[in-house]
């Protein structure tokens, strides 16, 4: 077995799981199942990043998205004990039509990209921790990075202000 073949097998495994889990997330009626399906999908994406030679991005994908963010989603779902969503017959004709139209547009876009791109796009790229850090903290993205940090800080302060109880009402 050659290395490309081995990589191809792993790639299709991860890709199949990622797509399957993403589909399950959308189709699933139970919100908790959807959350778990999204986690599986994110983890499989991390596997693909790892195959493309960037374990740093893969680890970040799991730590940030599959770990930190999704655990909060699950927390809310479990604390509120959200039940399976019920559907009333004949509800939302218009939204169904809009959904079908938008889905067709998306399918067309994906199809045109697939037709246009014959060769695999993922060329070799350096996404090691060092390369990413240099990119983020050198002059190109430094201001953007700092602006994002301030945005996150502002939202943190906002959340605390909203959650804090007034000591003397």
């Amino acid at each position: 077995m050659s290395l490309p073949l081995f990589h191809a097998i792993l790639f299709y495994m991860f890709a199949a799981v990622a797509v399957g889990a993403a589909l399950a997330m959308v189709v699933q009626r139970n919100p908790t199942y959807s959350a778990f399906a999204l986690i599986v999908s994110l983890v499989s994406l991390a596997g693909i990043f790892g195959l493309l030679g960037s374990p740093f991005i893969a680890a970040l994908q799991i730590v940030v998205y599959a770990g930190a963010i999704m655990v909060l989603f699950l927390f809310v779902l479990m604390l509120l004990n959200v039940k399976e969503e019920l559907r009333v017959a004949g509800e939302g004709r218009v939204s169904k039509l809009v959904a079908i139209a938008l889905g067709a547009v998306l399918a067309g876009e994906v199809g045109s990209v697939l037709v246009a791109v014959r060769t695999p796009v993922a060329a070799a790229f350096d996404a090691s921790a060092r390369a990413v850090a240099l990119l983020l903290f050198e002059k190109h993205y430094l201001y953007v990075f700092e602006a994002t940090s301030i945005l996150i800080l502002a939202s943190l302060v906002g959340a605390i202000a909203l959650a804090k109880r007034d000591p003397n009402p």
Partner: protein, 349 residues
Amino acid sequence: MSLSPVQQELAISTVKVLVIFGALMTLFSLMTYVERRLLAFMQFRLGPNRTGPFGLLQPVADGIKLFFKEEVTPAGANKVLFVAAPALAVVTAFMAVAVVPYGGTVSLPHWGWMPDWLEGRRIALQISDLDVGVLYLFALSSLGVYGIVMAGWAANNKYTLIGGLRSSAQMFSYELALGLSFVSLILVAGSFRIHDIVDSQKGWIWQWNAIRQLPAFAVFLVAATAEVNRTPFDLPEAETELVAGFHTEYSSMRFALLQMAEYINMITASAMGANLFFGGWHFGIPGVPDSPLWFIGKMLAFLFFFIWLRGTVPRFRYDQLMHFGWKVLVPVAMAWIFVAAALVLWRHS
């Protein structure tokens, strides 16, 4: 028989995985026995001493007992997630071990009867020497939380749900402190690779991060104990309030799997403590050859420490736990990062 280089690597990795899996299973079952015995001695009891010499066969007896017990699934439980939860917990626990190094590299001897590619081949004592080893560990420990959350929710029982929620809140609160305690080590070593961090502690004993970076070590010690849900931070299974926490409804082998995940996580945390803070396979005195034996000794010392802690300190209250994590550990770790960063900058300029 000639193998392509990829097949050779695969063969070596498979053997490594099997050996380490076997070693971990042995260590896990021994730990269940040693923990009960040591705790008993600390409390002036004898502990299990009837099965085999000194009671050493106790894990075997426990295993057989658990194997033949009935698997109970509560009527109101979510069947799929209830079964998936222990599996998820155990798989993530074992996957985390993949980046733990046990020593440098060893060369196979030239025996003459092995295939050519194996004769004198250098083999790293680690399954995968990942560039971002430390981050990988965090990734898996954050996935490990889901096993517990899932177990708590799927059983459809208020005690398990509260246990699961508590446990996950505790784990991601202390994960933050744990991560911050590693940042200064990464700064000093200049690398995420666990191997490089170990090598940055080569030389005399005071080169070890436990001494050179004492504040980071203190934060690590507390946060790691909380991360693996050990006393005094074993609130998820506080039996006086929550029956047995997230694994109340589990029985038989599923219960055994959850226990196994907990012990494997404890072993990983001990191995990381030995590697990142106590110089791994370096002895601490220049001239003494590096050996995996030193690493194993340090790891066992950590495991003993966890048991000792359990025999010594009482459990925290939940609000104390959260306050301590967010208001003491995180600020201390943050402050130390600034100090360490300043020192690194000063040394380089």
